[in-house]
């Protein structure tokens, strides 16, 4: 490489590892908070009607009954209907959230920057986790192309966002394994992670927040039975 190329790359590298990183985390954090508040603002509390005296509510059944209940619930859930997709999604999302926290290199950076760090898994372990996430991403990619009902509602943005989500993991592994040019891969790794963070509040990635708000806080057939919020646009009574 020429001197100017090296200079340009290192200047860009400084920018990506410095201000852009701060910006990405800030935008992500603030964005998540703001989207959460906006979502909450679209709901209001509505106390469920109290028509059954407390002492008449059936006490929990036997262990066998409760176990049967849980097994039936699982059987008719998406885990029962589309076990492969549901399973892969579970593994993907778990890996997505957990892996970055326990990568040795990340914890070393944290330690160097702030003097704190999480527990680190062995590099062999985190490499396996990373590749698992990438493999799940590949499954999603193929599913989007080959499964009829998913193809019918797929838009180009779905592929772009999948790439953005899997990008940090793929480039992280490529960098760590030195398969391709390390400097390039590590820059792409940091950049793709920053893009992903920034996109979280502004794209369908925000289902991360929405999932918990709507399934835990909002009353509905598929949510928590005792949820006390409803959408503001819904008026089922005069309250």
């Amino acid at each position: 490489m020429t001197h100017s190329e090296i200079f340009f790359l290192s200047a860009m590298g400084e920018w990506i590892r410095g201000p852009l990183a701060w910006a990405a985390f800030l935008i992500c954090g603030a964005g998540i908070f703001i989207q959460y508040r906006r979502l909450l603002a679209m709901t209001r509390t509505q106390e469920p009607l109290q028509v059954i005296p407390l002492d008449e509510v059936q006490t929990r059944g036997s262990f066998a009954d409760r176990l049967t209940g849980w097994l039936i619930f699982l059987r008719i859930s998406i885990l029962g209907h589309t076990p492969f997709m549901a399973g892969v999604s579970l593994i993907f999302h778990s890996g997505l959230m957990i892996t970055p926290l326990f990568v040795l290199a990340h914890n070393e950076l944290l330690d160097m920057a702030f003097g704190i760090s999480f527990v680190s898994f062995s590099e062999a372990m985190t490499t396996k986790m990373t590749l698992l996430v990438v493999a799940c991403g590949a499954f999603f990619f193929l599913r989007r192309i080959f499964v009829r009902r998913v193809r019918a509602i797929t838009a180009p943005s779905d592929f772009v966002l999948l790439l953005i989500a899997v990008g940090p993991f793929l480039t992280g592994w490529l960098a760590h394994s030195h398969v391709l040019n390390y400097q390039l891969m590590i820059m792409l790794h940091i950049l793709s992670a920053e893009i992903m963070l920034i996109m979280i509040p502004f794209s369908k990635f925000s289902h991360m927040i929405f999932f918990f708000v709507s399934r835990r806080l909002i009353a509905g057939e598929h949510g928590r039975i005792t949820a006390r919020r409803v959408w503001r646009y819904e008026r089922l009574s005069n309250t």
């Binding site: 979502l39 679209m42 998406i78 209907h81 589309t82 997709m85 549901a86 999604s89 989007r144 499964v147 009829r148 009902r149 998913v150 193809r151 019918a152 509602i153 797929t154 838009a155 779905d158 794209s203 369908k204 925000s206 289902h207 929405f210 999932f211 708000v213 709507s214 399934r215 909002i218 509905g220 057939e221 598929h222 949510g223 959408w231 646009y233 819904e234």
Partner: protein, 126 residues
């Protein structure tokens, strides 16, 4: 389906619906991950050979979703197609499941309202 009229689309009532419910519609469109997990919860999807046109997400994305993205500027044939989706392919049994909790029946209802404003509705006496 209602008799096709030759009147052009009157965009005002559609824009009114879109304006009054824009938060709700925008939320549904933003949150839909296009995952297709809602399909199995629709008995019509299962009863119609798993055709994608019966999938809850397909139904709302291609009715109120299209109206929202095009700001109500659609032609009559498009409205009639949407009418087929929301009146024929859906009975509003309100049991559709979405992993993210999108209120799909509410969006289908808005789609029906928009179609009705253009004289497109289900004819039960056919």
């Amino acid at each position: 389906m209602s008799e096709p009229t030759n009147l052009p689309v009157d965009p005002e009532p559609i824009r009114e619906i879109l304006k009054n419910h824009q938060q709700q519609i925008r939320l549904g469109l933003r949150m839909c991950a296009h995952c297709g997990l809602c399909a199995d919860s629709c008995f019509l999807y299962r009863a119609n050979d798993r055709a994608p046109e019966y999938m809850p997400s397909y139904k709302f994305l291609n009715s109120i979703g299209v109206l929202f993205k095009k700001k109500g500027k659609v032609g009559k044939p498009a409205v009639e197609e949407m009418g087929a989706l929301v009146f024929e392919n859906c009975v509003l049994c309100t049991r559709c499941y979405c992993p993210f909790g999108i209120d799909i029946p509410a969006l289908i209802t808005l789609g029906r309202r928009a179609c009705r404003s253009q004289g497109v509705f289900r004819a039960y006496d056919k």
